[in-house]
C-alpha cells in the first residue's frame, strides 16, 4: 500500500523544498547570466508532489505538443531522475537566447542538442546540488542527456523503479532576452528516497528554525 503522495510531505516541508529549489535555480540563473552575458531570470513558483500518473495527466493537460527534456540521474541518500521539460517548439527560442540570437536558423538547429544539454545541465545541477548542500548530503549526478517525445514516455524510462514512485513537479519560469519560456522540473523518486528526503527536510527545518516543529504547530 502506497500512501497518497500529497500526504508524504507536509505543507511546511513542501515550503522548505520550494525554498531550496528557488535558491538552486537562482544559482543556476547566476551561472547562465555569466555564461550568456545578459540578464537571465529563473523562478519556481510552485512545487507539487504527485503520483506518476498524475504527473502524466498534469503535463498532458497543459502541453499538447511534443516535448523536449534534459535528463540527469542523481544517486545518494536520495536516488532518482531529474528532468527539465519544456515544449519542443520553445527549445529553439531557448537556444537562440543562450547563444546570443545572432546565429542563423540552420546553425541553431545544428547546435540545439548541445546547447539544450548544457543549459539544462546548469539548471538541474543548480537545483540538485543546492538541495544536496542544504541538506548536508552528497549526491552523485550524471551527465545530461536529451529526450524528445510526448509526456508519458518521460515517466516510463528503463529501468523501472523497484518501489512505487512519486514525482516532485515544479513549475519553472525562464526569462532571457525578453523571451519568456515556461517549463517544468520533474524529480522522479521512489518511496524510500522520498522518505529519506522527508527526514532530511525535517532536519533542515529544525536547523533553520532552531527547534522541532510539526505541520500542526508550524510558526505563523
Amino acid at each position: 500500500m502506497i500512501s497518497l503522495p500529497a500526504t508524504v510531505l507536509d505543507e511546511l516541508e513542501l515550503d522548505a523544498l520550494t525554498e531550496l529549489v528557488n535558491i538552486g535555480v537562482s544559482r543556476a540563473a547566476a551561472s547562465l547570466r555569466e555564461m550568456v552575458g545578459r540578464q537571465v531570470l529563473l523562478s519556481v513558483p510552485t512545487v507539487k508532489l504527485v503520483s506518476r500518473s498524475q504527473a502524466v495527466e498534469l503535463l498532458g493537460q497543459s502541453e499538447t505538443n511534443r516535448l523536449v527534456a534534459v535528463h540527469q540521474v542523481f544517486e545518494g541518500d536520495i536516488t532518482g531522475r531529474a528532468m527539465l521539460i519544456f515544449p519542443e517548439v520553445n527549445s529553439l527560442e531557448l537556444v537562440r537566447a543562450v547563444t546570443g540570437g545572432e546565429l542563423p536558423l540552420e546553425d541553431i538547429i545544428e547546435l540545439e542538442q548541445e546547447a539544450l544539454a548544457e543549459t539544462g545541465n546548469i539548471i538541474l545541477n543548480g537545483c540538485l546540488a543546492t538541495i544536496a548542500n542544504m541538506l548536508k548530503r552528497s549526491l552523485k549526478i550524471s551527465l545530461p542527456e536529451i529526450l524528445r517525445g510526448e509526456g508519458p514516455e518521460f515517466f516510463e524510462l528503463a529501468p523501472p523503479p523497484e518501489a512505487g514512485d512519486v514525482v516532485l513537479f515544479l513549475y519553472i519560469n525562464f526569462s532571457v532576452s525578453e523571451r519568456d519560456i515556461r517549463g517544468y522540473i520533474a524529480m522522479l523518486m521512489d518511496m524510500p528516497s522520498l522518505e529519506a528526503l522527508k527526514v532530511l527536510l525535517r532536519e533542515f527545518i529544525e536547523r533553520t528554525t532552531g527547534h522541532s516543529t510539526t505541520a500542526t504547530d508550524a510558526p505563523l
Binding site: 527560442e93 540538485l128 543546492t130 552528497s138
Partner: protein, 645 residues
C-alpha cells in the same frame, strides 16, 4: 578501478586520448596527464599543485571552476560544450591548430568527494566537419534565400519568426532582431487571411496559393505582398517558410487602372461636350455663311435696282423737273434711295463682298485718331482708356472700314453703359499656333472692352447675326457686329466676343499682320463735283435700265455716249470709233468688265477705264483698276471720271 600494479594506473592515464585533470578540494591540480601537457604546452611538473586560474590567467574559467566545486561539494556532473564555451582553455591540436573541445566535470571516488575530475574531448574534427557541411548548406541556402528579391520568412510551429532574409528586412524596414521571435500578425492590420492560410499549411503541409497581405512597415506605411507558405520538417520539428512577393507596383498599376475606369464616363462626357461644342461652332459658321450668301445676293440685286432709281431721281432733281411740290417728292425719294444704298453697303460688308482696299495699316494711329473722336460721341460718363503695345507691326486691313468698325464698337459699348463706365481699347500683337480656327501666324488683336451690362449666353450666340439687335426699334440696324464679323473674315482674321452678364463685354478683332510697311493714307477724299466733261464715252452694261440712266447722267455732263450691252460689242466700238473713255459694268454675261479692261488696255494702253460694280469680288476685280460702286449719283460718277485723269 581495480589494478595489480599502482604504476599501471599512471601509464593508463598518460596513454588516454583524452585530456584529464583532477583537482583536489581546494581547486589545485592533482593529476595532469600527458595529453594535457601536449595540448596546453604546460608540463605536469609546472601544473601540479596550482589552480587552473594561475596556469591560464587569460581564460574565462569561472564556469569550469564552479562546476568542479559543485562536483566536489555535491557530486554534480557538468557538461561544458564548445558551443556555449568556445575557447574555454587555450589548447592546440598536434598540428598546432586551435582545438575545439567539449569538457566534462565529474566527482571522483565515493562521497564525500575529495576530488573532481575534468575530462577534455577533442572534437575539432567533428566540429570542423559540421562547420564545413553547415557552410556548404548555408551557401546554397543563401544563394537562394539571401539574394531573393522577395521577402522570405521562416516560422516555427508556433508562428514565431525564426529567420528573415535581407529582402524582408529591406522591404519591411525592420532589422532581423526586430523580427526574430515575433509573429507576423504583429505587422498585419488584418491578420485573418494569414491565420486562414497558416491553418491550411499546418494541416496539409502543401504549398499554399497566394493570399494578399498588407504588411505595416516600420515607418508606418503599408507594403502589399502576395504570401505563399509551405511546411517543412527538420527531424520531428515543423517549420513554415513563407515567400512574400512584393506586389506594390502591381497594386499601384491596378489602382491607376481602376481610377481610369472610374473616370471613363466623365471623360466620355467631356469629349462629347467638346464635340458638341465644335459641332455647334460649325453649325453657327455654316449658318453665317448661308446668311452671308443670301444677303450678298440680295444686296447685289438691290444695288442693280437702286442704280437706275438713284440715277433717275438724281437727273430729275438736277434738271429741276416738275413744280416745287414735285421737286420735294423727288428729294424725299432720293433720300430714301440713299438710305437704301447705305443699307445695301452694310449688307455687303457682312457678306464679305464689299470692295476692300486692304493695305498695311498702322492700327495705333487709327485707334488714337478715333478715340479722340469718341470723346464727343460717347459723352462725359464714359471714360476712354487706350492701351496700345509699343512697336506694333502694321495690320492688313482697310483703314476706312476699320475706322467704321471701331466707331461701331464704341457706340455699342456706350449703349451697354447707360450709367457710364470705362471703355478700353487695347491693341496687342499675338502669335497663333496651329490647331486654332485662325491660320497660324502673327495677328494684331484689337480689343474694345466695356464695363456695361454684358450679354447672356443666348444673346451672345446671336450677336453677329444680321439684323439681330438688343437696341430698341429704330435705335440700331442690327448690322454693326455683322459687318465687323464680315470685315475681319474677309481680311483673313476673326472676331471674338466674350461677355459676362453684369460685368461687361470684350470684342476682339484679330487682323493678320501685314508683310509690308504701313501706307500713309493720303486722304483721297474725292471732291465731288459737278464736273463738266467733254469727249466720247463708251458705256458698257448689260442691264438696260442701268445703262440708260448712266448714259443720261453722262450726256448731262456733256459727254457723247456710245452704249454697248456686252463686252464684245464694246470691243467693236473700240476698233471702229474714236473713244476717249471707257466706263464698264463688271459682272456681265460673257466677258467681265475687268477682262474687257485688260483687252482695251492691250490695244490702247492709255485709255482711261472706270469699272462700276455692285458686286465686289476682290480677287476678281483688279485693284489697279479705278472703280465706282453702284448705285451712284451723277456727282459720284463725275468724281470717278475725274480720278482717271
Amino acid at each position: 578501478m581495480r589494478h595489480s600494479n599502482p604504476a599501471l594506473a599512471t601509464f593508463v592515464l598518460d596513454a588516454l586520448d583524452t585530456g584529464l585533470i583532477v583537482f583536489d578540494g581546494d581547486g589545485k591540480v592533482a593529476i595532469w596527464n600527458d595529453w594535457m601537457t601536449r595540448a596546453s604546452g604546460v608540463a605536469a611538473d609546472a601544473a601540479l599543485g596550482r589552480p587552473l586560474t594561475e596556469l591560464f590567467p587569460d581564460a574565462r574559467l569561472s564556469r569550469l571552476t564552479a562546476a568542479v566545486r559543485e562536483a566536489v561539494e555535491s557530486g554534480a556532473s557538468s557538461l561544458l560544450t564548445h558551443t556555449l564555451h568556445p575557447m574555454l582553455l587555450p589548447l592546440r591540436t598536434r598540428t598546432g591548430r586551435v582545438m575545439i573541445a567539449d569538457v566534462f566535470v565529474r566527482p571522483v571516488g565515493e562521497k564525500p568527494y575529495s576530488h573532481g575530475a575534468v575530462q577534455i574531448a577533442d572534437v575539432s574534427a567533428a566540429a570542423e566537419r559540421e562547420r564545413v557541411l553547415r557552410e556548404r548548406q548555408n551557401a546554397r541556402y543563401d544563394a537562394v534565400v539571401g539574394s531573393a528579391a522577395d521577402p522570405i520568412l521562416t516560422f516555427d510551429a508556433t508562428g514565431a519568426i525564426q529567420s528573415a532574409n535581407p529582402s524582408a528586412q529591406r522591404e519591411f524596414g525592420f532589422a532581423a532582431a526586430e523580427l526574430l521571435g515575433h509573429r507576423i500578425e504583429e505587422f498585419l492590420d488584418d491578420a485573418a487571411p494569414w491565420a486562414e492560410a497558416w491553418k491550411r499549411v499546418i494541416a496539409n503541409g502543401a504549398p499554399h496559393w497566394p493570399v494578399e497581405l498588407a504588411v505595416r512597415r516600420k515607418d508606418g506605411s503599408l507594403s502589399y505582398v502576395d504570401a505563399t507558405a509551405s511546411l517543412w520538417m527538420s527531424e520531428s520539428r515543423a517549420f513554415v517558410t513563407g515567400i512574400f512577393r512584393d506586389v506594390n507596383e502591381r497594386r499601384a498599376a491596378e489602382a491607376d487602372l481602376r481610377h481610369l475606369n472610374e473616370t471613363l464616363e466623365e471623360r466620355v462626357r467631356e469629349r462629347t461636350a467638346d464635340l458638341e461644342r465644335v459641332h455647334e461652332q460649325l453649325r453657327q459658321s455654316q449658318k453665317m455663311e448661308a446668311v452671308g450668301q443670301l444677303t450678298g445676293g440680295i444686296a447685289h440685286d438691290f444695288n442693280n435696282l437702286l442704280t437706275p432709281i438713284v440715277g433717275g431721281l438724281d437727273i430729275l432733281q438736277r434738271r429741276g423737273v416738275g413744280d416745287e411740290r414735285g421737286q420735294r417728292l423727288v428729294d424725299g425719294a432720293l433720300q430714301s434711295a440713299e438710305r437704301a444704298r447705305v443699307l445695301v453697303q452694310r449688307l455687303l460688308a457682312f457678306a464679305r463682298r464689299q470692295p476692300l482696299q486692304a493695305c498695311a495699316v498702322d492700327v495705333e494711329k487709327i485707334v488714337v485718331d478715333m478715340t479722340e473722336l469718341f470723346g464727343g460721341t460717347l459723352g462725359p460718363a464714359v471714360r476712354v482708356v487706350v492701351d496700345v503695345a509699343s512697336e506694333l507691326p502694321p495690320a492688313m486691313a482697310d483703314p476706312n472700314q476699320l475706322e467704321m468698325a471701331l466707331l461701331n464698337l464704341a457706340v455699342n459699348a456706350r449703349d451697354a453703359m447707360p450709367d457710364g463706365g470705362t471703355l478700353t481699347v487695347s491693341v496687342r500683337c499675338a502669335d497663333v499656333g496651329p490647331g486654332r480656327k485662325l491660320a497660324p501666324g502673327r495677328y494684331i488683336r484689337l480689343a474694345v472692352s466695356d464695363t456695361g451690362t454684358g450679354m447672356d449666353a443666348a444673346t451672345l450666340a446671336q450677336a453677329v447675326e444680321p439684323f439681330f439687335s438688343t437696341k430698341g426699334v429704330g435705335k440700331g440696324t442690327g448690322l454693326g457686329l455683322s459687318m465687323i464679323h464680315g470685315l475681319t473674315a474677309q481680311l483673313g482674321g476673326t472676331l471674338e466676343i466674350a461677355s459676362t452678364l453684369g460685368l461687361g463685354t470684350t470684342v476682339e478683332m484679330w487682323l493678320p499682320v501685314a508683310s509690308g510697311r504701313a501706307v500713309q493714307s493720303a486722304d483721297e477724299e474725292v471732291v465731288g463735283g459737278e464736273g463738266r466733261g467733254a469727249g466720247v464715252v463708251l458705256l458698257v452694261d448689260d442691264e438696260d435700265l442701268i445703262r440708260t440712266s448712266t448714259a443720261q447722267m453722262l450726256s448731262d455732263m456733256g459727254y457723247t455716249v456710245i452704249e454697248a450691252s456686252s463686252a464684245k460689242e464694246a470691243m467693236s466700238h473700240i476698233h471702229s470709233s474714236v473713244v476717249d473713255l471707257v466706263i464698264t459694268d463688271h459682272l456681265m454675261a460673257g466677258m467681265s468688265g475687268t477682262a474687257l479692261a485688260r483687252e482695251v488696255k492691250a490695244k490702247r494702253p492709255n485709255m482711261p477705264i472706270l469699272i462700276i460694280s455692285g458686286f465686289a469680288e476682290v480677287e476678281d476685280l483688279a485693284p489697279d483698276l479705278p472703280r465706282l460702286m453702284k448705285p451712284f449719283r451723277a456727282s459720284e460718277l463725275a468724281a470717278g471720271i475725274a480720278q482717271l485723269r
